[in-house]
Amino acid sequence: MDILRFITAGSVDDGKSTLIGRLLYDSKSIFQDQLEAIEKAGQVNGQINLALLTDGLKAEREQGITIDIAYKYFSTPKRKFIIADAPGHVQYTRNMVTGASNSDLAIILIDARKGVIEQTYRHSYIVSLLRIPYVVVCINKMDLVDFSEEVFLNIKKQYLEFAKDLDLKSIHFLPISALNGDNVVDLSTSMPWWKEKSLLGFLEDIELHTEEESPAPRFPVQNVIRPQTTEYHDYRGYAGQIRSGHFTVGDSITVLPSGLKSKIKAIDTYAGSINTAYAPMSVAIRLEDEIDVSRGDMLVVSGQEPTTSQDLEAHICWMDQKAMTPGSKYLLRQTTNAVKASIRSLEYRVETSTHEKKEQTSLGLNEIGKVTIRTAKPVAYDPYSQIRGTGSFVLVDEGTNQTVAAGMLL
């Protein structure tokens, strides 16, 4: 069994929380005591309010909106699912980016009565920017448009027209009613024209690939394990999680950013040594030579080195109340590395609903733009489009310690 991590995006009242509630309810993943608790809380239009399953905070229940991501879990015999239920409000875009950063798939909800709206554009842009491999556009509330195939096809056409300019690899469409459960877990009898799978059937069957286009081996070092006991007197294991590709005993290794070279002597796990380790395994690697390797360094297979530079270009999503202005200094965290950095320039801000590039001098909360960054020390990285695990970073404000930006390297 494997894991599919997905995010649900859409505007307020498009029915995200209801859809998740429906997925859980119809796949029998809700427990009796949870059900009793939401039944006690009252009904909406004569039905239990499934949205209450995900809105876990008092303020959310009071206001009837989602403020922060809720993670929900369910499994079928085929797959384990992790759902990031992200808020739809523009003001919580940063929380949507948080949920999207770990997702393999995005469900974008559209209200069948409204069609593609500004939030659809915004969310699709973020999904494209974060390179979520699969997009499922769920056209919801079909019950309110008489289950019309024509409405469905029109919205599909409208979406595809706009998505032309986006970098979305795989887009699927589904007509659903989350409130009634049409085509969510079970196929709808009200839409006989729909001959494809239900949403759950689709989520169960979609084939997952990760980083398949660029399996260059990448191993950022987290810690050095040095027991210094009699039994393990000379033991020196580099602990970390393989970000992409695989490593095999005997591979020639280059350490970045230093450029020092060695070979893999052993790959250790608690259960014993292994010959080959794959992403995303957490292991400890031992090298043949005693060279200087510490946290933040990256082991790569020689001949497949990434870029190493102090000058970076990136898209960033600004996540702090205090606006970003060029010249400001931050701590840049990329893989296990933390390095001081300053933003040299803001090349443009993207209008996420139209994709327009606008000249601007600063980036405010939830705005996305392209920047150039200078780091205090060289950083080894891959373009985000090739390897998410080495092409992503965050910026931390050293005064407040807040995470103020998410970045994707070019």
């Binding site: 894991i3 991501i69 394990i225 999680q241 608690y270």
Partner: protein
Amino acid sequence: MTDLHRLSHLDQLESEAIYILREVAAQFERPALLFSGGKDSICLVHLALKAFRPGKFPFPLVHIDTGHNFDEALKFRDDLAERTGEKLVVRFVQDSIDQGKAVEEKGKFPSRNAIQAVTLLDTIAEFKFDACIGGARRDEEKARAKERIFSVRDEFGSWDPKLQRPELWNIYNGKIHVGENVRVFPISNWTELDVWEYIRKENIELPSLYFSHQREIVWREDLVFPVSKFISLDNTDKVETRTVRFRTVGDMTCTAAVESEANTIDDIIREIQVSRTTERGSRLDDKRSEAAMEDRKKGGYF
């Protein structure tokens, strides 16, 4: 050889948890692993073995002993510390009560669950812990479903759900000001069933409480409660002997048992797969109000 080597869901979850534990070791100066003797924290210890052996753990195991624990859990705790050779720190809620810092609840179902936070915060201050690793899972409860893996608490140990840091990819930001601490949840993404399947796969030892046994019980609000010196019985309580096991282990005053014949891990997994109630359905502390957990967390509870 193909690069599309897929790890099973348990291997993926394990790898993620090891990565998180190692991030704690790297980013904090004085971390601690909060150990309760329950199955989730036992899994954490097993994951720490995987993350740091052949080295020692870069943190002690810390138990906040409410004084209402099951004997089986305490014995297991001490045995585990001895078996792993890792440092165990125990601090007592009774001491906080004696010092007048915590006030014992009154009534028919008094619980020390909430005042545990007082002792925990004092312990954090005593050792200047900057990170506390815990075995909480997001599937347990709806407020926990909202929490980040690195969850920053202010100097009062309080969680503000509206001011959580964005948490992107697997880059964790553990930077804090003096006095603040981070609660770290490496098994956030595990479900109860994942934990049990992992225990089976890794052959992890557990306290006998989790397996079916005979015990004296009373019924409380439709729940099966263990008879112990910590609960007060009156004329209305009828003590019976039943075959039970515990699905979750907390204090004897707030953990209900389930009637069960499940004697092996396989039996337990089968039982959970068909269960229609959540694990926390047997915890009275969560049933107090709609926002019981959220309120406790704002008060410094785990």
